[in-house]
Amino acid sequence: MPSTFFTEAPHWRWLIILYFFIGGIAGGCYFLAALIDLTGRPADRPLARLGYLIALPAVVVCGIVLIADLGRPERFWHMLLQSATWRPMFKTYSPMSLGAWGLLVFGGFAFLSFLGALADGERRRGFAVLRPPALLGTSVSILGGLAAFFLVSYTGVLLAVTNRPIWSDTTLLGAVFLVSSASTSIALLVLLGSRRVFFISGLRALQRFDVIVLVLELLTLIALVVSLGSLARVWLSAWGALLLFGVVGLGIVLPLVLHRRAPSPLAPAARLAAVLVLVGGFLLRVVIVLSSEAI
């Protein structure tokens, strides 16, 4: 029996699954907003604005969920400051320590960009410096985008840097979570953006991006199963069925088919595809977390 099967489960359940999902949305929406702001057309700016407006509340929810999951929530700050000396608590080789700081740093950028997104035409014009094309705003979006990449992938590395079955038997979970957070965030923007016709140009680009990301997600999931080797047999169970039919079938293949059928991102089929991608992204985290917890 592999050595990882002699360990204990850390009781990371629904709150952690929720964090992985919402954290992916927060980072993913921020990344998309920065991408659109930095490379898109002026007509796409409302779509980028939507991304920033989602990112901050999502990252705030992340913080609340993580604190609620602690055995001693009132000591959450021990992750950031050494409780005896008040010096910074920072361990480069502990993904959770890095993650606590990453969440804080990303939260800062999300806050600045949220303010930038509040500037809308003549209203609150002072905040516009916090958003591209202003120099300060460009810097914020680039650095925030990098922090977003960290936020959506470190959780997978955190799972790998343990001794638990599945999690530590592969090194691909960070990449899997990253790609999945891109697909779920695109889906959320498409879903919310498709209510406004003037988003159409940006939505078309998003839809094209979605196809690439969904194919990438399929490839990384196949690579994940291959990297587990003989250990993948633990998924010859209800978890494997959920992964195959829920995550891959409902969350990736069916949306790809719907994309082919619905050339316009405003079509009902495109919205259905977006909902399915979101459901698939959530189920992916359910399978990854709970199938290891169950061992």
Binding site: L35, G40, M79, P95, F149
Partner: protein, 260 residues
């Protein structure tokens, strides 16, 4: 600076009396399961079942009998935190609650731990779990408080057969090797030391004399450090970020027919 201290547990002389479990619970004032309403596990004489936040010692009972029960033996082993020289729990702990003491043992400071539970997943031996009373992760401290006072840990003090031996690691290793040689000379060729070698996580400061495979005792054959996955996991993530980033650029830059 005191020299590294630890346990050498000779499982061949363990009689399964559980005095170590009781002494540990008494000294460390650990609560009973279910408020004392114990249930029988049906697994031999083992009703403790596992190490966790309120069981820092666990005597395992392994019954090895032939189908007709004519031949057989009992294996008994008092399990505890291994106080690894390179400790997985200490590596991943994000609060600095887990420290290495002056005795080269590994201790969770209960007033610092915030119950994130990363150490539970990081331990290669499944030693740590939550203590529901403190809301923190807990495990054997190798009686740090007693050692500071020059005393022996409660479990080894209580052990009536000297299955659990406490002392400087250097001396314990010599003593353990002599015992292995003695058993080999007497015909018990399967006797060997688990964790005395530095190749296993730098050496376990609580190591064992076993007479069957590690798996038989519920011990991992090849325990590793969590950090082995840090670099490759990060590199794959960076590669994923680059690919997704490029795909995003391509999607937003190349849209000649969008306006059609």
């Amino acid at each position: 600076m005191p020299e590294p201290m630890g346990f050498y547990t000779d499982t061949t002389v363990c009689i399964g009396c559980k005095a170590c479990e009781v002494a540990c619970k008494e000294w460390n004032q650990l609560p009973a399961t279910n408020g004392g309403r114990n249930t029988l596990s049906g697994d031999s004489y083992d009703n403790t079942r596992r190490l966790d936040g309120i069981h820092w010692r666990h005597v395992k009972f392994i019954e090895q009998f032939s189908a007709d029960r004519r031949d057989g033996r009992w294996l008994m082993m008092s399990d505890v935190c291994k106080h690894c020289v390179r400790a997985g729990c200490l590596e991943v702990c994000p609060t600095g609650a887990i420290i290495r003491t002056e005795f080269d043992t590994v201790v969770i400071q209960s007033d610092v731990c915030n119950g994130c539970r990363d150490c539970i997943a990081g331990c290669p031996f499944g030693v740590i779990d939550m203590n529901p009373v403190s809301g923190t992760a807990q495990k054997c401290t190798l009686c740090y408080d007693r050692m500071r006072a020059g005393m022996e840990p409660a479990c080894s003090k209580a052990c009536p057969t000297d299955s659990i031996n406490f002392g400087p690691i250097r001396e314990l290793k010599q003593q353990a090797q002599q015992r292995v040689d003695q058993l080999h000379a007497r015909g018990e060729r399967d006797a060997y030391l688990y964790g005395a070698d530095e190749r296993m996580l730098g050496g376990l400061n609580s190591f064992y004399l076993l007479v069957d495979t590690p798996e038989t005792y519920g011990l991992p054959p090849d325990p590793k450090l969590p950090s082995r996955n840090l670099k490759p996991g990060s590199l794959w993530s960076v590669l994923g970020a680059v690919v997704v980033g490029l795909a995003g650029l391509v999607s937003f830059r190349m849209r000649g027919n969008d306006d059609a």
